[in-house]
Structure formats: structure tokens, C-alpha cells
């Protein structure tokens, strides 16, 4: 008999949800994590959208280690000195069943892994999976770890080992890796007293704010974010890898410049840097996804590039949780049927296609490219902010100029062709669906 029915590699959001689903279905599950505890090695910007957890952990909000509930979502466009912000607030998001929340990953991932253990999965930490085992027919039937006597056999494996998945690559599920498909996310965690954060961001109690930023990344294509935790602020940037390399800029310099922007500096003034962290993001989304299944294995979460990084959205945890859950369900059923062939496992891809996991990705597949394009990055922020600047500026005794004239003049000044603007606008409209 094999050591387990299902081995899940990686106890991030994808892995823990896969383990919960498979264990609940009665399978023997071993969940392997390389860190000393789940979440210990993980970072992200800071906002989770756990709606999908309704299906796995009913009333999750009562036990999940949440920092603040997001009641304000803003998108900020930054020029060198100006800022245009669209800000939406709904205090209803601060009440059950809630919408988004800020949380620390070492807390959140550890909590989620405890749900997997409660469901019956066995969690093994401080253990790195170093390779896949296969039977005579080439079907994956276990993993090798870095521990002595470290081979484990199983009916099937779920790879949830995060971005740049070595397991998916070893299984041959990715074609060549293109650095242009990745961005580097860097983040500072900045400490301030809670009441100061409350005042500066206009929130109370456990209400929180999510700000996504376009521009402000020192000419390196990407974006920024500012999220509120209880007594820290997460401030970071997401930077396109080839551009970062070509411009020879250090990510921490870009963060420093962003922090000094007149629209950002007052928010974080006096804060103490508690932590600096960085991680790669599978930014290209739909266009870089691997084959999701092979004989004896399925891939979920970032390992399958299921991270939605499209401008005003930076969502990966919810996609990881959902894909992990479906992977766990499908794996459990396949093991029960005693058929873990790739064909049998296409039920997983079907499930992804039928739900938001791939539908959102398909709908928004053009958006990451558009948002990271040179025009949107280099020209539009200055163009948009100067249009707004002129609309709001009072130049008496001059009469107010018409909006069309302002747009035309500023478009020319920014060097944007009308045809391009229309094309990008159309792509954006279609892209955002």
C-alpha cells in the first residue's frame, strides 16, 4: 500500500485547500511544507478575498486571523508630483459576510493549514520536496524529499509549490520559461500606531483600506500598492522583470521614490520599517499557464500561474484557494475511481473552466499586457493627471477651457496618438469585459 492517497506539495493557500478538500472526501492526505510552519516563507501584498472559503470553512471570518476588513478600495494614478484617485467606500464590506481583508500570510496560511489538519490531513513541515517519483509506465506516484529515507509514495500528487513550480516543470507541464511573464513584487511593512493609521486612512476599528497604484514606479513598468494592517502599512511595488534588469534600478530605490511621492509620503510619515520582502509573481496569467494535469498529478495556485495581476486587481490567494480546492476534490474522486490518468483528471481543468478561476483569467487575459505596456505605464499617468489638473485649475480671468480641448492638447503634449488612445481604450473596455 502506498504511504498516502494524495500528497500535496506546499502548504500555501492552494495546498492547504487541496488538503482540506481531499481529506474531507475521506482520502489519506500528506501535506508537505518546506518552511518550519506554513506561511513562514510566504509573502504577498496583503489583501485576501476569501469568499470561496464559504464552501470549505463555513463562517471562516470568525476564526481567520484577519487584520482589517477592507471597506475602501482606491485606484491611484500617479504622475511625478500629481495623483488622481478613484476611491470607493462601503462600510457594508466591514460586516459579515465581508468582502476582502488584510491578513499576514504567516498567520493566514498557518490558520488554513490547521483546517487541513483538522480535516484529517497529516502536515509535515521543514521538509522540501526535491523531485517526483514515477512508476514503470511513467505515471507520477510519489515524491522525493530532502530528508533521509525521504521517498513517499501516493496514488497521486497535487503540486502547490508556488510560482516557478519545480514540480510542474519536472513533469514537463511548462514550455520554456520567459522572464517577461514574471514581475517582481517587493514590499515594506511599515509600523505606525493603530490610531494614526485610522486617522490617516479615514477608518475605524477593524476597517481597512486597499490602494492600487498605477505609475510611481520610477519608469519601470509595474504598479504599486498600499494596504492597511492593524498597526502596520504594507507598501510595495510590482515590477516587470526585464525592464527592471534593463534599467539597472534597485527595487528598494523604487520603493524609496514611491514613499517620497507627495500623495504617499503623508500616509506613512514617521513609520518604522519592520520588514522588507520580495517574491516573484506569475504576472502574465492566462498566456503563461501550463498544462494543468498529467498522469498522477495536477497543478494548482501560483504553480499553475493562476494569479490574477491585472492593474486594479492583484488577486492570487483566492485563485490559489479555489484551484486547490477543486484539485483536492478531483484528486479524491480520481483516487476513489482508481483512475488517476491525465484523462480522468481533466475533470479538474473542466472545473477551472466552469468557474471564476479560468473565466476571470480568460476574460481579463489582455489586461496584464495592456496595464504593463509602455504607453499605459509611461504616458497615460502624466496625460490623465494633467487633464484632471487643468479641469480643476481655476485660471481666472481666463474662462474655463472645454474638456475636449484639454484632452486634445494634453494628449499631444504626452505624445499619444489618437488612434492609439482609441485602440487601448477599446482593448481596455473589452479586456475588462
Amino acid at each position: 500500500m502506498s504511504d498516502a492517497d494524495v500528497i500535496v506539495v506546499g502548504a500555501g493557500p492552494a495546498g492547504s485547500c487541496a488538503a482540506i478538500a481531499a481529506a474531507r472526501a475521506g482520502r489519506r492526505v500528506i501535506l508537505i511544507e518546506r518552511g518550519p510552519f506554513p506561511g513562514s516563507k510566504n509573502m504577498y501584498g496583503g489583501v485576501v478575498y476569501p469568499r470561496i472559503l464559504d464552501e470549505l470553512v463555513p463562517r471562516w471570518w470568525e476564526t481567520a486571523p484577519i487584520q482589517r476588513w477592507v471597506v475602501r478600495r482606491s485606484t491611484m494614478v500617479l504622475s511625478e508630483t500629481g495623483a488622481l484617485t478613484v476611491d470607493y467606500r462601503s462600510n457594508a464590506w466591514g460586516e459579515p459576510p465581508y468582502n476582502g481583508a488584510t491578513a499576514y500570510r504567516p498567520d493566514f496560511d498557518e490558520w488554513l493549514s490547521r483546517q487541513a489538519v483538522a480535516a484529517g490531513a497529516q502536515l509535515v513541515t521543514s521538509t522540501t520536496v526535491t523531485g517526483l517519483l514515477r512508476d514503470a509506465s511513467g505515471r507520477i506516484n510519489g515524491v522525493r524529499t530532502d530528508r533521509p529515507d525521504g521517498d513517499l509514495s501516493a496514488s497521486m500528487v497535487i503540486a502547490c509549490d508556488g510560482v516557478n513550480s519545480f514540480l510542474a516543470k519536472e513533469a514537463g507541464l511548462y514550455t520554456a520559461t520567459d522572464p517577461a511573464n514574471f514581475t517582481l513584487g517587493v514590499k515594506e511593512t511599515l509600523a505606525l500606531p493603530k490610531h494614526v493609521i485610522d486617522e490617516r486612512f479615514g477608518v475605524r476599528d477593524d476597517q481597512g483600506v486597499d490602494i492600487e497604484i498605477l505609475g510611481g514606479t520610477s519608469g519601470v513598468n509595474g504598479g504599486g500598492f498600499v494596504y492597511t494592517n492593524l498597526d502596520t502599512i504594507a507598501l510595495g511595488a510590482v515590477l516587470k522583470l526585464p525592464k527592471l534588469a534593463a534599467q539597472k534600478k534597485r527595487p528598494e530605490e523604487i520603493i524609496a521614490t514611491l514613499k517620497a511621492h507627495p500623495a504617499i509620503a503623508p500616509l506613512i510619515e514617521g513609520a518604522e520599517v519592520k520588514e522588507y520582502s520580495a517574491h516573484v509573481i506569475p504576472e502574465a496569467g492566462y498566456s503563461m499557464m501550463p498544462t494543468m494535469v498529467t498522469d498522477g498529478m495536477v497543478v494548482a495556485g501560483d504553480a499553475a500561474a493562476l494569479c490574477l495581476a491585472a492593474g486594479i486587481w492583484l488577486e492570487g490567494v483566492n485563485f490559489a484557494m479555489a484551484s486547490g480546492m477543486y484539485a483536492g476534490e478531483v484528486a479524491a474522486a480520481a483516487v476513489a475511481r482508481n483512475d488517476v490518468s491525465a484523462k480522468s483528471l481533466t475533470a479538474y481543468t473542466d472545473k477551472l473552466n466552469a468557474t471564476f478561476v479560468l473565466r476571470d483569467h480568460k476574460k481579463l487575459r489582455k489586461v496584464p499586457g495592456l496595464v504593463l505596456s509602455d504607453r499605459v505605464q509611461q504616458k497615460y499617468p502624466a496625460f490623465v493627471t494633467s487633464v484632471v489638473e487643468r479641469v480643476f485649475r481655476v485660471d481666472n480671468p481666463q474662462p474655463k477651457p472645454g474638456l475636449r480641448r484639454i484632452v486634445r492638447e494634453e494628449r499631444k503634449r504626452a505624445g499619444i496618438k489618437l488612434s492609439q488612445l482609441i485602440r487601448d481604450g477599446w482593448t481596455g473596455l473589452r479586456g475588462f469585459g
Binding site: 504511504d3 510552519f37 498557518e110 509535515v124 524529499t145 530528508r147 533521509p148 529515507d149 525521504g150 513517499l152
Partner: protein, 259 residues
């Protein structure tokens, strides 16, 4: 006979977050030596006086190969002496008792000494090198002034080692999986083990002074503080040690420092 490893579980953070808790490098070395020094057929027992969370350290020890794990449920504020008594009550028939000489919370390393006294066996503490041989072990102690003491240990003894002495083996995957469900024996330690613990910062005891004499406020301040006066109260005497000690005490009493 058994070989014992004593492990101290410490949660280093003020919020008692168990995720960051563990045992010191010295305790890890002790565990490794316990495993190495056991003779065929001998039990290796890991003992930890601590809260439920400490069972993680014991499971890790089981994964590494100890044959029995005992947790003594004890108030975490228990003194070294009380911890030693509690451990002594569970490690009967011990041939070797390995301890770290330094816990994660900057301990004093005194528990092993107490333990040797309670068990009535030998001790070799603060070891920086250990050579295990079949009949007797050779160990090296660190002494002050860069000196070393080389000790042969043959009889039952408590040994405390520094963290640099050994690297704990990596548990096998099978060991880790089995340790999850291994039995941890739980022994309830004595309940009143907390010595009078003074958690206030150290302050020297107050000294009663007579009200200062003097007509003006300035005079009174002067007499109170000795400020401005010549106070050559030093004196050099050569005495043999007992007389010197007696002289120090009498002088301190004369100056009002002793009750």
C-alpha cells in the same frame, strides 16, 4: 539503564507565539549526544518540563530516534532547582543525562548541577568537546582564563554541552511521520514550585539616614551628600582572607550598609 536528554522549550517572544518557540542549539547538541552515546538495548529518553506546546520539541526528538518522550507539566516560572527535582523524579536508572548548558532564554545553566545533586551522580558541565568511546567518554570543559579541563566520565553523570559541540541529525521522513502519533508520557510536576520570584527591576535596599544636621538648607544638603567635604575614607590594609572578610563586613556595617 537509560540515556536521557533534557530539553528546555522556550517561547522567546513576549506574545508567547509558539510558532517561534523551540529548544536551544545546546539542547540540540545534548539530544544528539544522547542518541550517539546510547548502547544497544538502552532506552533514550527525552524529557521536557514545560507546557503542552513543548510536545513539539519532544515529537521532533522522537522523530530523531529517542525511544521515549516525557513531558513534565510544570509551571514555566519554576526555578532551576524545582525543574531539577521534577526531572530527577522521572529519570530513574539514568546512566547519562545530557543537557544543554544554555537555554534559548539566556538561562544560567544551573539546572544540570541541581539535577546531578538530586540524582546523586557525577557531573561535567559546560562541555566544549565530547569524545564518545565504549567504556568511558573523554570530555573537555571550558574554564576561565582560556584554560581547559579534560575529564574522563565513566560512571553515571549529568553532562551539559555547548551548542557548538554537535549538530543534531536530520530526522528521517518516516521518523517525522511516525512521531506525529507517538505517545508522549505526561507527568504532572509538583504544583508549588515557584520560588519567590521578584519580577520588579533590581533596586538596592533603601538605607535609613538620620535627618541631616545644619542651620541652613545648604548646610543640610552638604551634610547629606558629603559634597565639598574631603572624604578620604580609603585605607589600605593587608590581612589574611578570613580577617579580610571580617574587616569588610565590619566596615560595611560601620558605614551603614548592613542592617
Amino acid at each position: 539503564m537509560t540515556v536521557v536528554a533534557c530539553l528546555k522549550w522556550v517561547t522567546p517572544r513576549a506574545d508567547d507565539d509558539d510558532r517561534f518557540a523551540g529548544i536551544s542549539a545546546a539542547d540540540q547538541s545534548a539530544l544528539e549526544f544522547a542518541l550517539q552515546s546510547a548502547q544497544p538495548g538502552e532506552d533514550v529518553v527525552a524529557v521536557c518540563a514545560g507546557p503542552v506546546g513543548a510536545e513539539r520539541a519532544l515529537r521532533d526528538a522522537v522523530a530523531c530516534g529517542v525511544t521515549r518522550a516525557v513531558r513534565i507539566d510544570l509551571d514555566p516560572r519554576a526555578s532551576s532547582s524545582a525543574v531539577a527535582s521534577a526531572i530527577a523524579s522521572v529519570v530513574t536508572e539514568a546512566r547519562l543525562v545530557w543537557c544543554g548548558d544554555y537555554s534559548l532564554d539566556r538561562g544560567t545553566g544551573s539546572m544540570p548541577g541541581f539535577l546531578a545533586a538530586r540524582l546523586g551522580i557525577g557531573q561535567a558541565l559546560g562541555l566544549i568537546d565530547v569524545t564518545i568511546a565504549h567504556d568511558a567518554m573523554t570530555v573537555v570543559r571550558r574554564l576561565d582564563g582560556a584554560r581547559r579541563e579534560i575529564v574522563r566520565v565513566s560512571g553515571p553523570a549529568v553532562l551539559s554541552v555547548e551548542g557548538s559541540t554537535a549538530r543534531l541529525r536530520r530526522a528521517s521522513l518516516r521518523g517525522v511521520l511516525a512521531a506525529d502519533t507517538a505517545t508522549i508520557d505526561v507527568v504532572t510536576g509538583p504544583s508549588s514550585v515557584v520560588d519567590t520570584v521578584d519580577e520588579k527591576p533590581f533596586r538596592p535596599r533603601a538605607r535609613a539616614l538620620a535627618a541631616p544636621a545644619g542651620a541652613s538648607a545648604l548646610d543640610r544638603v552638604r551634610s547629606l551628600t558629603d559634597a565639598g567635604s574631603v572624604t578620604a575614607r580609603s585605607e589600605t590594609v593587608v590581612l589574611d582572607p578570613p580577617a579580610a572578610a571580617a574587616r569588610i563586613v565590619s566596615t560595611l556595617r560601620e558605614w551603614g550598609y548592613l542592617g
